[in-house]
């Protein structure tokens, strides 16, 4: 049987990291044990019935018993989460899902991140030696502060839509440059971010025949494979992305 928990935790730290992201930290032994980047938590934000469903968030960082998540306000529930204060309680299910592949032989590893996909990839790049971490944002003010990226073991490259930081344009342009520079046969891509971004990354990977993994963020309810709400089409048919994913090898994703 999988080891799953549903813990009441107290917020130990909660702060706005920049224009885009908020960070919440809490302490929990069961939720911090043997966590791999790419896994996630399912959080009941209020003890009452609004929001009604929980919301999934990736592990952003785990140190000892301390768990951090990094989130952005996208709708009602995340807006409510942002009003929580130190000491407030959250009800948290985890650890959920399958992580990113940690060890790939020989190949150079490129992480491609955007939006809500940044947290798990920063976690991955802190845990393991990566070669590149490409981060795409709209503008400079959404770029994570240096302090949050101090332990990343990878070369970080930025793209912004408005050119206010790093390269102007989409993060796939950065990826294209890396592919040109490093050679397609030498790369392994791991990506998480907005659907359109991941679709572009996967399309490029397919074009060049590069292997990789994407962490999908389907809308979820149960997060343990019971509701069949978050299915992803694979060669074996529909599978729940909360259990079989959220990380999927590119070649398991329908074109």
């Amino acid at each position: 049987m999988r080891r799953l928990y549903d813990e009441t935790v107290r917020i130990a730290e909660h702060r706005k990291v920049n224009e885009k992201y908020y960070k919440i930290a809490f302490l929990s032994k069961p939720l911090a044990r043997t966590i791999q980047p790419g896994q996630f938590l399912n959080i009941r934000i209020n003890p009452d019935l609004d929001p009604f469903l929980r919301r999934p968030f990736s592990y952003y960082r785990v140190k000892g018993n301390r768990v951090e998540i990094l989130y952005e306000i996208l709708g009602r529930a995340t807006a409510m989460l942002a009003t929580k204060k130190k000491g407030d309680a959250l009800q948290v299910m985890g650890p959920l899902g399958k992580p990113f592949t940690a060890k790939i032989k020989d190949k150079k590893r490129v992480l491609v991140a955007g939006g809500v996909g940044v947290p798990p990839l920063v976690f991955l790049a802190e845990r393991y030696r990566m070669d590149y971490l490409l981060i795409g944002t709209k503008s400079k003010k959404e770029v994570l502060p240096k302090s949050e990226l101090a332990h990343v073991k990878a070369k970080i490259l930025y793209s912004t839509n408005d050119g206010s930081y790093g390269m102007k344009g989409f993060v796939t342009h950065l990826l294209e440059q890396i592919i040109q520079k490093e050679g397609k046969s030498n790369l392994f891509i791991q990506t998480c971010g907005p659907k359109v971004m991941m679709q572009a990354v996967i399309a490029m990977a397919r074009q060049y025949g590069i292997e990789g993994e994407a962490s999908l963020d389907e809308y979820m309810a149960c997060t343990i494979g019971a509701c069949l709400g978050c299915m992803v089409k694979t060669p074996e048919g529909w599978v729940p992305s909360c259990v079989e994913g959220p990380v999927f090898a590119f070649d398991r994703l329908a074109e």
Partner: protein, 316 residues
């Protein structure tokens, strides 16, 4: 020492250790909730709807939150009868919890075949729940009259094929619930399951598209609890048969409302997604309530709703 409360509940000749079960389609296919709940404490387990052949279901998005509930348009995704018999029945054979299999079909013949096959697995399959009302696969525009005729055909066919207890699951989307209930009971159903989801929808105002790929979906959760409770109450007034209640049961308080209104079994559905321990917490809450109210057998509580005013009130 805590005094013991007798929570035994019956459907026909079948006895359940307690009234707490799970609503079809909300508890996985085999043991997803085992990390959170001791499955052998449940009174029974009701499966997700099984169809004769496997069904792929609807495209994503299939679910969306609404106020106090959610919409789903899963579209009865399941691997079909054969897979169920081969891979799920062995799991439930080892489990000391009665299994109720929920079925649906597009034709009378399929209903017949499903029932025949499941009846052959009687030592494991303890009862059949007929999903007569899934709003996500019903062809649109079918009139209440036609639905009613079809339902009666289904009951007759299925009744001929099995002596397992038959539970007819209804929803207001089918027409007049009490009228249909009277019909299905006359044709041989042993119990009622009230209610399935209500058909609803949600719109994404940013894209001006429906939130669900299927446009509409089934509304579940506490939002529909008052409606479910009212149908259980009305059915209890009219019929003596056992009633399996579902519709927004999140807490023991909710469950007790349904029991007092007349429910025999409490099917916990959407609540599982919000609180994976909902089932056993509800069970404990029911026991606790019985103990502190001096109730020694759950039957004392069932249908005990009374309407006598307690003395005059200024507005009363």
């Amino acid at each position: 020492m805590k005094s013991k409360v007798n929570l035994e509940t019956k459907i026909k000749n079948l006895t359940f250790r307690n009234p707490v079960t799970v609503a079809s389609g909300t508890f996985g296919t085999k043991g997803e909730y085992a990390p959170y709940v001791n499955l052998e404490r449940l009174g029974a387990i009701i499966t997700k709807t099984i169809t004769l052949k496997g069904r792929a279901g609807n495209p994503m998005p299939r679910i969306i939150e609404t106020t106090g509930g959610m919409l789903n348009a899963i579209g009865l995704q399941n691997k079909g009868l054969q897979d169920f018999v081969e891979h799920k029945i062995p799991f439930y054979r080892k489990l000391n919890t009665p299994l109720i299999v929920n079925i649906a079909a597009e034709s009378i013949d399929e209903f017949g075949e499903l029932t025949r096959t499941l009846t052959r697995h009687k030592p494991v399959v303890k009862a059949i729940e007929l999903n007569l009302s899934c709003p996500n696969v019903e062809a649109g525009g079918v009139s209440f009259m036609r639905k009613r005729e079809r339902i009666l055909d289904v009951i007759r066919t299925v009744r001929d094929e099995t002596d397992l207890p038959l539970i007819a699951k209804l929803s207001p989307e089918l027409g007049d619930v009490l009228e249909i209930a009277a019909d299905v009971l006359k044709e041989g159903a042993d119990a009622l399951s009230l209610i399935n989801t209500l058909k609803g929808m949600a719109v994404n105002i940013a894209t001006r598209q429906p939130h669900l790929s299927n446009v509409t979906g089934g509304l579940s959760g506490p939002a529909i609890k008052p409606v479910a409770l009212r149908y259980v109450y009305e059915a209890r007034k009219h019929f003596k048969v056992p009633i399996v209640a579902s519709g927004g049961i999140m807490t023991a308080q909710d469950a007790l409302e349904f029991i007092i209104a007349g429910a025999d079994m409490i099917a916990v559905g959407t609540a599982n997604f919000v609180n994976p321990r909902a089932t056993t917490q509800i069970l404990e809450g029911i026991e606790e309530y019985c103990r502190s109210n001096g109730i020694r057998h759950i039957n004392e509580l069932k249908g005990s709703l009374h309407n006598g005013k307690e003395g005059p009130v200024f507005g009363g």
